[in-house]
Protein backbone atom coordinates (compact mmCIF):
# COMPACT_ATOMS: atom_id res chain seq x y z
CA UNK A 1 0.00 0.00 0.00
CA UNK A 2 1.40 3.33 -0.93
CA UNK A 3 0.48 6.95 -0.78
CA UNK A 4 0.49 8.70 -4.12
CA UNK A 5 0.60 12.41 -3.44
CA UNK A 6 0.47 14.83 -6.33
CA UNK A 7 0.76 18.59 -6.45
CA UNK A 8 -1.12 19.88 -9.50
CA UNK A 9 -2.45 23.06 -11.04
CA UNK A 10 -5.74 24.17 -9.47
CA UNK A 11 -7.67 23.65 -12.68
CA UNK A 12 -6.49 20.08 -13.09
CA UNK A 13 -8.22 18.54 -10.07
CA UNK A 14 -11.26 17.40 -11.99
CA UNK A 15 -9.17 15.84 -14.72
CA UNK A 16 -7.05 13.96 -12.23
CA UNK A 17 -10.12 12.82 -10.35
CA UNK A 18 -11.63 11.43 -13.51
CA UNK A 19 -8.43 9.78 -14.61
CA UNK A 20 -8.12 8.05 -11.25
CA UNK A 21 -11.74 6.98 -11.37
CA UNK A 22 -11.08 5.30 -14.72
CA UNK A 23 -8.50 3.00 -13.20
CA UNK A 24 -10.76 2.26 -10.25
CA UNK A 25 -9.37 4.65 -7.66
CA UNK A 26 -12.18 6.55 -6.05
CA UNK A 27 -10.90 7.61 -2.64
CA UNK A 28 -8.73 10.70 -2.34
CA UNK A 29 -8.12 13.73 -0.20
CA UNK A 30 -7.60 17.14 -1.72
CA UNK A 31 -5.94 20.14 -0.09
CA UNK A 32 -5.38 23.71 -1.18
CA UNK A 33 -1.66 24.37 -0.95
CA UNK A 34 0.87 26.85 -2.22
CA UNK A 35 3.85 25.64 -4.15
CA UNK A 36 7.33 26.91 -4.77
CA UNK A 37 9.41 25.54 -7.60
CA UNK A 38 10.80 26.48 -10.96
CA UNK A 39 7.63 28.28 -11.95
CA UNK A 40 8.12 32.01 -11.73
CA UNK A 41 5.60 33.57 -9.46
CA UNK A 42 3.73 36.73 -10.26
CA UNK A 43 4.53 40.21 -9.19
CA UNK A 44 2.13 41.73 -6.74
CA UNK A 45 2.06 45.47 -6.46
CA UNK A 46 1.07 46.95 -3.14
CA UNK A 47 1.61 50.44 -1.90
CA UNK A 48 4.06 51.09 -4.67
CA UNK A 49 6.28 48.20 -3.79
CA UNK A 50 6.55 45.11 -5.85
CA UNK A 51 6.44 41.74 -4.26
CA UNK A 52 7.46 38.52 -5.84
CA UNK A 53 4.74 36.10 -4.91
CA UNK A 54 6.56 32.84 -5.34
CA UNK A 55 4.18 30.62 -3.49
CA UNK A 56 1.63 29.83 -6.15
CA UNK A 57 -1.77 28.26 -5.67
CA UNK A 58 -1.69 24.51 -6.24
CA UNK A 59 -3.88 21.61 -5.27
CA UNK A 60 -2.52 18.55 -3.52
CA UNK A 61 -4.26 15.25 -4.17
CA UNK A 62 -3.40 12.34 -1.95
CA UNK A 63 -4.65 8.86 -2.58
CA UNK A 64 -3.60 5.70 -0.86
CA UNK A 65 -3.68 2.73 -3.19
CA UNK A 66 -2.65 -0.96 -3.22
CA UNK A 67 0.88 -1.63 -4.43
CA UNK A 68 -0.21 -3.18 -7.71
CA UNK A 69 -1.91 -0.09 -9.05
CA UNK A 70 0.55 2.53 -7.84
CA UNK A 71 2.21 2.72 -11.19
CA UNK A 72 -1.11 3.04 -13.03
CA UNK A 73 -2.23 5.78 -10.66
CA UNK A 74 1.00 7.69 -11.14
CA UNK A 75 0.73 7.49 -14.90
CA UNK A 76 -2.94 8.46 -14.87
CA UNK A 77 -2.17 11.52 -12.79
CA UNK A 78 0.77 12.55 -14.90
CA UNK A 79 -1.22 12.28 -18.10
CA UNK A 80 -4.20 14.13 -16.74
CA UNK A 81 -2.30 16.92 -15.04
CA UNK A 82 0.29 17.65 -17.67
CA UNK A 83 0.26 20.83 -19.73
CA UNK A 84 3.95 20.70 -20.56
CA UNK A 85 4.57 24.10 -19.06
CA UNK A 86 6.67 24.82 -16.03
CA UNK A 87 4.54 24.60 -12.91
CA UNK A 88 2.83 21.31 -13.65
CA UNK A 89 3.89 19.86 -10.33
CA UNK A 90 5.10 16.60 -8.85
CA UNK A 91 3.98 13.18 -7.84
CA UNK A 92 5.49 11.60 -4.76
CA UNK A 93 5.10 7.96 -3.84
CA UNK A 94 5.65 6.96 -0.23
CA UNK A 95 5.08 3.82 1.81
CA UNK A 96 1.99 3.43 3.98
CA UNK A 97 2.17 0.71 6.57
CA UNK A 98 -1.50 0.19 7.12
CA UNK A 99 -4.85 1.77 6.53
CA UNK A 100 -8.18 1.66 8.36
CA UNK A 101 -11.75 2.47 7.46
CA UNK A 102 -13.13 4.49 10.35
CA UNK A 103 -16.71 3.51 9.61
CA UNK A 104 -16.13 -0.19 10.09
CA UNK A 105 -12.92 -0.09 12.06
CA UNK A 106 -11.38 -2.79 9.91
CA UNK A 107 -7.95 -2.69 8.48
CA UNK A 108 -8.28 -2.33 4.78
CA UNK A 109 -7.30 -5.11 2.50
CA UNK A 110 -5.82 -2.94 -0.16
Amino acid sequence: MQSVKSIVRPDKVDDVKEALAKIGVSGMTVTEVRGHGKQKGHTAVYRGKEYQVTLLPKMQIETVVPDDIVEAAVQAIITAARTGEIGDGRVFVAPVTRSYKIRTGEREGM
Partner: protein
Protein backbone atom coordinates in the same frame (compact mmCIF):
# COMPACT_ATOMS: atom_id res chain seq x y z
CA UNK B 1 -35.73 76.17 -6.71
CA UNK B 2 -37.73 73.63 -4.74
CA UNK B 3 -35.62 72.78 -1.72
CA UNK B 4 -37.52 69.63 -0.81
CA UNK B 5 -37.09 68.28 -4.32
CA UNK B 6 -33.43 69.24 -4.15
CA UNK B 7 -33.00 67.35 -0.88
CA UNK B 8 -34.60 64.26 -2.36
CA UNK B 9 -32.55 64.43 -5.57
CA UNK B 10 -29.30 64.93 -3.65
CA UNK B 11 -29.83 61.70 -1.78
CA UNK B 12 -31.28 59.92 -4.82
CA UNK B 13 -28.16 60.70 -6.80
CA UNK B 14 -25.97 59.39 -4.01
CA UNK B 15 -28.13 56.24 -3.88
CA UNK B 16 -27.73 55.55 -7.59
CA UNK B 17 -23.99 56.13 -7.39
CA UNK B 18 -23.84 53.53 -4.61
CA UNK B 19 -25.42 50.99 -6.94
CA UNK B 20 -22.21 50.61 -8.93
CA UNK B 21 -20.11 49.43 -5.97
CA UNK B 22 -23.10 47.27 -5.03
CA UNK B 23 -23.03 45.75 -8.51
CA UNK B 24 -19.32 45.08 -8.03
CA UNK B 25 -20.23 42.87 -5.08
CA UNK B 26 -23.22 41.24 -6.75
CA UNK B 27 -21.05 40.26 -9.70
CA UNK B 28 -17.81 39.78 -7.77
CA UNK B 29 -19.31 37.22 -5.40
CA UNK B 30 -20.50 35.06 -8.28
CA UNK B 31 -17.14 34.49 -9.96
CA UNK B 32 -14.25 32.35 -8.83
CA UNK B 33 -11.89 33.85 -6.29
CA UNK B 34 -9.08 34.13 -8.83
CA UNK B 35 -11.24 36.63 -10.75
CA UNK B 36 -12.94 38.44 -7.89
CA UNK B 37 -10.97 41.68 -8.07
CA UNK B 38 -11.08 41.91 -11.84
CA UNK B 39 -14.84 41.51 -11.80
CA UNK B 40 -15.21 44.20 -9.16
CA UNK B 41 -12.84 46.50 -10.99
CA UNK B 42 -15.03 46.28 -14.08
CA UNK B 43 -17.68 48.12 -12.11
CA UNK B 44 -15.32 50.49 -10.35
CA UNK B 45 -13.58 51.58 -13.54
CA UNK B 46 -16.92 52.70 -14.90
CA UNK B 47 -17.17 55.15 -12.02
CA UNK B 48 -13.96 56.66 -13.35
CA UNK B 49 -14.12 56.61 -17.12
CA UNK B 50 -17.86 56.89 -17.71
CA UNK B 51 -18.22 59.41 -14.89
CA UNK B 52 -15.61 61.70 -16.46
CA UNK B 53 -16.80 61.28 -20.00
CA UNK B 54 -20.38 61.96 -18.98
CA UNK B 55 -19.51 65.42 -17.69
CA UNK B 56 -17.35 66.23 -20.68
CA UNK B 57 -19.37 64.79 -23.57
CA UNK B 58 -22.17 62.40 -22.66
CA UNK B 59 -24.51 64.80 -20.93
CA UNK B 60 -24.54 67.10 -23.92
CA UNK B 61 -25.28 64.30 -26.38
CA UNK B 62 -28.09 63.01 -24.20
CA UNK B 63 -29.68 66.15 -22.81
CA UNK B 64 -28.73 69.14 -24.93
CA UNK B 65 -31.50 70.21 -27.33
CA UNK B 66 -30.24 68.70 -30.59
CA UNK B 67 -32.67 66.84 -32.81
CA UNK B 68 -34.88 63.77 -32.45
CA UNK B 69 -31.90 61.44 -32.50
CA UNK B 70 -29.16 63.02 -30.48
CA UNK B 71 -28.36 66.06 -28.40
CA UNK B 72 -26.14 68.74 -29.82
CA UNK B 73 -22.73 69.92 -28.65
CA UNK B 74 -24.00 72.94 -26.78
CA UNK B 75 -23.29 71.46 -23.35
CA UNK B 76 -19.91 69.87 -23.97
CA UNK B 77 -17.73 70.41 -20.90
CA UNK B 78 -20.98 71.36 -19.12
CA UNK B 79 -21.04 74.72 -20.85
CA UNK B 80 -24.27 76.44 -19.93
CA UNK B 81 -24.93 74.03 -17.08
CA UNK B 82 -24.97 75.81 -13.74
CA UNK B 83 -26.88 76.43 -10.56
CA UNK B 84 -30.06 77.54 -12.34
CA UNK B 85 -33.16 75.50 -11.74
CA UNK B 86 -34.40 72.93 -14.24
CA UNK B 87 -37.67 71.05 -14.33
CA UNK B 88 -41.30 72.07 -14.19
CA UNK B 89 -42.14 75.31 -12.41
CA UNK B 90 -42.51 74.71 -8.70
CA UNK B 91 -40.41 71.56 -8.83
CA UNK B 92 -37.10 72.91 -10.03
CA UNK B 93 -33.75 71.53 -8.91
CA UNK B 94 -30.25 72.83 -9.68
CA UNK B 95 -29.11 71.95 -13.19
CA UNK B 96 -25.81 70.59 -11.86
CA UNK B 97 -27.67 68.14 -9.71
CA UNK B 98 -29.81 66.93 -12.59
CA UNK B 99 -26.65 66.35 -14.62
CA UNK B 100 -25.11 64.33 -11.79
CA UNK B 101 -28.25 62.28 -11.33
CA UNK B 102 -28.26 61.33 -14.99
CA UNK B 103 -24.53 60.61 -14.84
CA UNK B 104 -25.00 57.91 -12.24
CA UNK B 105 -27.33 56.13 -14.68
CA UNK B 106 -24.74 56.22 -17.44
CA UNK B 107 -22.13 54.78 -15.06
CA UNK B 108 -24.14 51.80 -13.90
CA UNK B 109 -25.56 50.98 -17.34
CA UNK B 110 -22.06 50.54 -18.72
CA UNK B 111 -20.99 48.50 -15.71
CA UNK B 112 -23.96 46.14 -16.09
CA UNK B 113 -22.53 44.81 -19.35
CA UNK B 114 -19.48 43.39 -17.61
CA UNK B 115 -21.42 40.48 -16.14
CA UNK B 116 -21.52 38.84 -19.54
CA UNK B 117 -17.81 38.80 -20.17
CA UNK B 118 -16.13 38.44 -16.78
CA UNK B 119 -13.30 35.98 -16.23
CA UNK B 120 -11.91 36.45 -19.74
CA UNK B 121 -12.09 39.97 -21.20
CA UNK B 122 -8.89 41.98 -21.17
CA UNK B 123 -9.28 44.84 -18.72
CA UNK B 124 -7.90 47.57 -20.96
CA UNK B 125 -10.13 46.53 -23.88
CA UNK B 126 -13.11 46.55 -21.55
CA UNK B 127 -12.32 50.01 -20.19
CA UNK B 128 -11.97 51.47 -23.67
CA UNK B 129 -15.12 49.74 -24.84
CA UNK B 130 -17.41 51.03 -22.10
CA UNK B 131 -16.02 54.54 -22.41
CA UNK B 132 -16.91 54.66 -26.09
CA UNK B 133 -20.13 52.74 -25.54
CA UNK B 134 -21.41 55.30 -23.06
CA UNK B 135 -20.94 58.01 -25.67
CA UNK B 136 -22.04 56.21 -28.80
CA UNK B 137 -24.78 53.94 -27.50
CA UNK B 138 -26.00 55.14 -24.14
CA UNK B 139 -26.23 58.89 -24.71
CA UNK B 140 -28.30 58.70 -27.91
CA UNK B 141 -30.79 56.19 -26.46
CA UNK B 142 -31.11 58.33 -23.34
CA UNK B 143 -31.81 61.26 -25.65
CA UNK B 144 -34.54 59.35 -27.49
CA UNK B 145 -36.42 58.63 -24.28
CA UNK B 146 -35.57 61.37 -21.79
CA UNK B 147 -33.89 64.10 -23.82
CA UNK B 148 -36.92 64.97 -25.92
CA UNK B 149 -36.08 62.53 -28.74
CA UNK B 150 -38.31 60.51 -31.00
CA UNK B 151 -39.34 57.81 -28.55
CA UNK B 152 -40.60 60.32 -26.03
CA UNK B 153 -42.51 62.10 -28.78
CA UNK B 154 -44.02 58.78 -29.81
CA UNK B 155 -45.32 58.39 -26.28
CA UNK B 156 -43.13 55.50 -25.12
CA UNK B 157 -43.26 55.09 -21.35
CA UNK B 158 -40.00 54.42 -19.57
CA UNK B 159 -40.17 55.76 -16.07
CA UNK B 160 -36.67 55.03 -14.85
CA UNK B 161 -34.89 53.29 -17.65
CA UNK B 162 -36.22 49.85 -18.51
CA UNK B 163 -35.30 50.42 -22.13
CA UNK B 164 -32.53 52.98 -21.80
CA UNK B 165 -30.70 51.09 -19.09
CA UNK B 166 -31.71 47.47 -18.91
CA UNK B 167 -32.72 46.41 -22.40
CA UNK B 168 -29.81 48.44 -23.70
CA UNK B 169 -27.23 46.89 -21.37
CA UNK B 170 -28.75 43.44 -21.83
CA UNK B 171 -28.37 43.59 -25.59
CA UNK B 172 -24.84 44.91 -25.39
CA UNK B 173 -24.08 42.07 -22.98
CA UNK B 174 -25.49 39.53 -25.41
CA UNK B 175 -23.37 40.86 -28.23
CA UNK B 176 -20.27 41.07 -26.06
CA UNK B 177 -20.61 37.50 -24.75
CA UNK B 178 -21.05 36.31 -28.29
CA UNK B 179 -18.11 38.24 -29.72
CA UNK B 180 -15.83 37.24 -26.84
CA UNK B 181 -16.80 33.59 -26.81
CA UNK B 182 -17.11 31.36 -23.76
CA UNK B 183 -14.57 30.98 -21.01
CA UNK B 184 -12.12 28.22 -21.84
CA UNK B 185 -13.33 25.94 -19.08
CA UNK B 186 -17.00 26.74 -19.57
CA UNK B 187 -18.94 23.48 -19.68
CA UNK B 188 -16.00 21.38 -18.56
CA UNK B 189 -15.97 22.42 -14.93
CA UNK B 190 -18.46 23.77 -12.48
CA UNK B 191 -17.73 27.46 -12.33
CA UNK B 192 -19.16 27.96 -8.88
CA UNK B 193 -19.44 31.34 -7.16
CA UNK B 194 -16.71 31.93 -4.60
CA UNK B 195 -18.60 34.11 -2.13
CA UNK B 196 -22.39 34.03 -2.21
CA UNK B 197 -22.72 36.37 0.78
CA UNK B 198 -21.10 39.06 -1.39
CA UNK B 199 -23.80 38.48 -4.01
CA UNK B 200 -26.48 38.86 -1.34
CA UNK B 201 -24.80 42.01 -0.06
CA UNK B 202 -24.79 43.38 -3.58
CA UNK B 203 -28.46 42.53 -4.11
CA UNK B 204 -29.48 44.10 -0.80
CA UNK B 205 -27.59 47.33 -1.45
CA UNK B 206 -28.81 47.41 -5.05
CA UNK B 207 -32.38 47.34 -3.77
CA UNK B 208 -31.59 50.21 -1.41
CA UNK B 209 -29.99 52.23 -4.20
CA UNK B 210 -32.80 51.41 -6.60
CA UNK B 211 -35.15 53.59 -4.56
CA UNK B 212 -33.04 56.49 -5.74
CA UNK B 213 -33.08 55.10 -9.26
CA UNK B 214 -36.85 54.68 -9.51
CA UNK B 215 -38.40 57.05 -6.99
CA UNK B 216 -35.72 59.59 -7.84
CA UNK B 217 -36.87 59.47 -11.45
CA UNK B 218 -39.87 61.53 -10.38
CA UNK B 219 -37.25 64.30 -9.98
CA UNK B 220 -39.41 65.60 -7.15
CA UNK B 221 -40.41 64.58 -3.63
CA UNK B 222 -44.05 64.16 -4.49
CA UNK B 223 -46.80 61.61 -4.93
CA UNK B 224 -45.28 60.16 -8.09
CA UNK B 225 -42.07 59.53 -6.21
CA UNK B 226 -44.08 57.77 -3.53
CA UNK B 227 -45.90 55.74 -6.18
CA UNK B 228 -42.62 54.72 -7.78
CA UNK B 229 -41.17 53.94 -4.37
CA UNK B 230 -44.09 51.66 -3.54
CA UNK B 231 -43.76 49.76 -6.78
CA UNK B 232 -40.00 49.42 -6.22
CA UNK B 233 -40.60 47.96 -2.80
CA UNK B 234 -43.39 45.59 -3.75
CA UNK B 235 -42.45 44.19 -7.16
CA UNK B 236 -39.26 42.44 -5.99
CA UNK B 237 -41.09 40.85 -3.05
CA UNK B 238 -43.30 39.03 -5.55
CA UNK B 239 -40.40 38.12 -7.84
CA UNK B 240 -38.53 36.73 -4.87
CA UNK B 241 -41.46 34.60 -3.74
CA UNK B 242 -42.25 33.29 -7.23
CA UNK B 243 -38.58 32.52 -7.91
CA UNK B 244 -38.33 30.56 -4.67
CA UNK B 245 -41.43 28.60 -5.55
CA UNK B 246 -40.00 27.81 -8.99
CA UNK B 247 -36.76 26.68 -7.34
CA UNK B 248 -38.70 24.50 -4.94
CA UNK B 249 -40.82 23.03 -7.72
CA UNK B 250 -37.77 22.19 -9.77
CA UNK B 251 -35.14 21.05 -7.27
CA UNK B 252 -36.77 21.21 -3.88
CA UNK B 253 -34.35 23.86 -2.70
CA UNK B 254 -34.70 27.64 -2.81
CA UNK B 255 -31.22 28.98 -3.50
CA UNK B 256 -29.47 32.07 -2.23
CA UNK B 257 -28.07 32.93 -5.66
CA UNK B 258 -31.61 32.62 -6.97
CA UNK B 259 -32.87 34.98 -4.30
CA UNK B 260 -30.25 37.57 -5.12
CA UNK B 261 -31.03 37.21 -8.82
CA UNK B 262 -34.78 37.44 -8.23
CA UNK B 263 -34.41 40.70 -6.36
CA UNK B 264 -32.50 42.19 -9.27
CA UNK B 265 -34.97 40.83 -11.85
CA UNK B 266 -37.91 42.28 -9.93
CA UNK B 267 -36.17 45.64 -9.72
CA UNK B 268 -35.29 45.61 -13.40
CA UNK B 269 -38.82 44.73 -14.46
CA UNK B 270 -40.49 47.41 -12.36
CA UNK B 271 -38.05 50.10 -13.51
CA UNK B 272 -39.93 51.29 -16.62
CA UNK B 273 -43.29 50.98 -14.84
CA UNK B 274 -42.50 52.33 -11.39
CA UNK B 275 -44.18 55.73 -11.58
CA UNK B 276 -47.06 54.60 -13.77
CA UNK B 277 -48.63 51.64 -11.97
CA UNK B 278 -50.44 50.96 -8.72
CA UNK B 279 -49.12 48.67 -5.97
CA UNK B 280 -51.19 45.61 -6.87
CA UNK B 281 -50.09 45.93 -10.49
CA UNK B 282 -46.52 46.15 -9.21
CA UNK B 283 -46.94 42.90 -7.28
CA UNK B 284 -48.38 41.21 -10.35
CA UNK B 285 -45.73 42.60 -12.65
CA UNK B 286 -42.98 41.50 -10.27
CA UNK B 287 -44.41 38.01 -9.98
CA UNK B 288 -44.87 37.62 -13.73
CA UNK B 289 -41.39 38.88 -14.48
CA UNK B 290 -39.90 35.94 -12.62
CA UNK B 291 -40.95 33.44 -15.28
CA UNK B 292 -39.13 34.58 -18.43
CA UNK B 293 -35.92 35.33 -16.56
CA UNK B 294 -36.04 32.09 -14.62
CA UNK B 295 -36.57 29.92 -17.65
CA UNK B 296 -34.40 32.08 -19.86
CA UNK B 297 -31.55 31.54 -17.47
CA UNK B 298 -32.18 27.80 -17.35
CA UNK B 299 -32.23 27.59 -21.08
CA UNK B 300 -29.12 29.71 -21.54
CA UNK B 301 -27.24 27.51 -19.10
CA UNK B 302 -28.01 24.49 -21.22
CA UNK B 303 -26.43 26.07 -24.28
CA UNK B 304 -22.84 26.86 -25.08
CA UNK B 305 -23.57 30.59 -24.88
CA UNK B 306 -21.53 31.87 -21.97
CA UNK B 307 -23.33 34.99 -20.71
CA UNK B 308 -21.45 34.36 -17.50
CA UNK B 309 -23.65 36.12 -14.97
CA UNK B 310 -26.83 36.10 -17.06
CA UNK B 311 -27.09 39.76 -17.87
CA UNK B 312 -29.31 38.94 -20.81
CA UNK B 313 -31.75 36.87 -18.77
CA UNK B 314 -31.87 39.34 -15.89
CA UNK B 315 -31.60 42.73 -17.60
CA UNK B 316 -32.43 42.03 -21.22
CA UNK B 317 -35.45 39.82 -20.61
CA UNK B 318 -36.43 41.50 -17.37
CA UNK B 319 -36.23 44.93 -18.95
CA UNK B 320 -38.22 43.86 -22.01
CA UNK B 321 -40.92 42.22 -19.94
CA UNK B 322 -41.09 45.28 -17.73
CA UNK B 323 -41.31 47.66 -20.69
CA UNK B 324 -44.10 45.66 -22.30
CA UNK B 325 -46.04 45.21 -19.06
CA UNK B 326 -45.78 48.94 -18.46
CA UNK B 327 -47.95 49.20 -21.54
CA UNK B 328 -50.40 46.83 -19.84
CA UNK B 329 -50.55 48.10 -16.28
CA UNK B 330 -50.05 51.88 -16.68
CA UNK B 331 -52.89 53.84 -15.12
CA UNK B 332 -53.63 57.42 -16.12
CA UNK B 333 -55.66 57.91 -12.97
CA UNK B 334 -52.44 57.59 -10.98
CA UNK B 335 -49.89 59.48 -13.01
CA UNK B 336 -51.88 61.54 -15.48
CA UNK B 337 -49.68 60.37 -18.36
CA UNK B 338 -51.17 57.35 -20.10
CA UNK B 339 -53.26 54.23 -19.67
CA UNK B 340 -52.09 50.73 -20.49
CA UNK B 341 -53.93 47.85 -22.14
CA UNK B 342 -55.65 46.86 -18.92
CA UNK B 343 -57.13 50.31 -18.66
CA UNK B 344 -58.43 50.49 -22.18
CA UNK B 345 -55.39 51.52 -24.20
CA UNK B 346 -53.99 48.42 -25.91
CA UNK B 347 -52.02 50.55 -28.36
CA UNK B 348 -49.58 51.42 -25.61
CA UNK B 349 -48.13 47.92 -25.73
CA UNK B 350 -47.23 48.45 -29.37
CA UNK B 351 -45.50 51.71 -28.62
CA UNK B 352 -43.60 50.00 -25.84
CA UNK B 353 -42.63 47.20 -28.18
CA UNK B 354 -41.35 49.68 -30.72
CA UNK B 355 -39.17 51.37 -28.15
CA UNK B 356 -37.72 48.06 -27.01
CA UNK B 357 -37.07 47.01 -30.57
CA UNK B 358 -35.37 50.28 -31.39
CA UNK B 359 -33.08 49.88 -28.41
CA UNK B 360 -32.31 46.28 -29.33
CA UNK B 361 -31.41 47.08 -32.90
CA UNK B 362 -29.40 50.20 -32.17
CA UNK B 363 -27.56 48.84 -29.16
CA UNK B 364 -27.00 45.48 -30.82
CA UNK B 365 -25.48 46.84 -33.99
CA UNK B 366 -23.45 49.62 -32.43
CA UNK B 367 -22.12 47.44 -29.60
CA UNK B 368 -20.95 44.93 -32.16
CA UNK B 369 -19.22 47.56 -34.28
CA UNK B 370 -17.56 49.11 -31.23
CA UNK B 371 -16.25 45.78 -29.99
CA UNK B 372 -14.78 45.02 -33.38
CA UNK B 373 -13.15 48.45 -33.53
CA UNK B 374 -11.69 48.13 -30.07
CA UNK B 375 -10.49 44.66 -31.00
CA UNK B 376 -8.41 46.19 -33.76
CA UNK B 377 -6.44 48.14 -31.19
CA UNK B 378 -6.33 45.80 -28.23
CA UNK B 379 -7.12 42.08 -28.24
CA UNK B 380 -10.49 41.68 -26.55
CA UNK B 381 -9.62 38.48 -24.72
CA UNK B 382 -6.93 37.87 -22.20
CA UNK B 383 -4.25 35.39 -23.19
CA UNK B 384 -5.02 31.76 -22.53
CA UNK B 385 -2.54 31.65 -19.67
CA UNK B 386 -3.78 34.86 -18.15
CA UNK B 387 -7.29 33.51 -18.11
CA UNK B 388 -6.13 30.23 -16.60
CA UNK B 389 -3.99 31.78 -13.86
CA UNK B 390 -6.80 34.19 -13.07
CA UNK B 391 -7.59 37.72 -14.11
CA UNK B 392 -6.72 39.22 -10.74
CA UNK B 393 -3.09 38.29 -11.03
CA UNK B 394 -2.83 38.73 -14.78
CA UNK B 395 -4.68 42.03 -15.18
CA UNK B 396 -4.09 43.71 -11.82
CA UNK B 397 -1.09 42.01 -10.26
CA UNK B 398 -3.06 41.26 -7.11
CA UNK B 399 -4.78 38.44 -5.33
CA UNK B 400 -8.10 39.19 -3.65
CA UNK B 401 -7.40 37.15 -0.54
CA UNK B 402 -4.07 36.39 1.08
CA UNK B 403 -4.42 34.52 4.30
CA UNK B 404 -1.03 33.20 5.13
CA UNK B 405 1.68 35.60 6.03
CA UNK B 406 5.03 35.56 4.47
CA UNK B 407 3.94 34.39 1.09
CA UNK B 408 5.58 37.25 -0.69
CA UNK B 409 9.08 38.60 -0.80
CA UNK B 410 9.78 42.19 -1.58
CA UNK B 411 11.59 42.66 -4.87
Amino acid sequence: MNQADTAWMLISTALVLLMTPALAFFYGGLVRSKNALNTMMMSFVSLGVVGMVWAVIGYSLAFAPGNDWIGDASRLFLKGVGLEGVGPAGDQIPHYLYMCYQGTFAIITAALISGAIVERMRFSAYAIFITLWSIVVYSPIAHWVWGGGWLSKMGALDFAGGTVVHVNAGVAALVAAWVLGPRRDYRSTGLLPHNIPFALLGAGVLWFGWFGFNAGSAVAANGIAALAFTATMLAPTATLVVWMLLDIARTGKPTAVGTATAIVVGLVAITPAAGFVGPMSALLLGGLAAFPSYFGLLWRASTSFDDSLDVVAAHGLGGTVGALLTGVFAQKALNGVADGALFGNPGQVLIQGTAVLAAIVYSGVLSFVLLKLVGLVVPLRADRDDESVGMDVSQHGEEAYVHAEGSAAQV
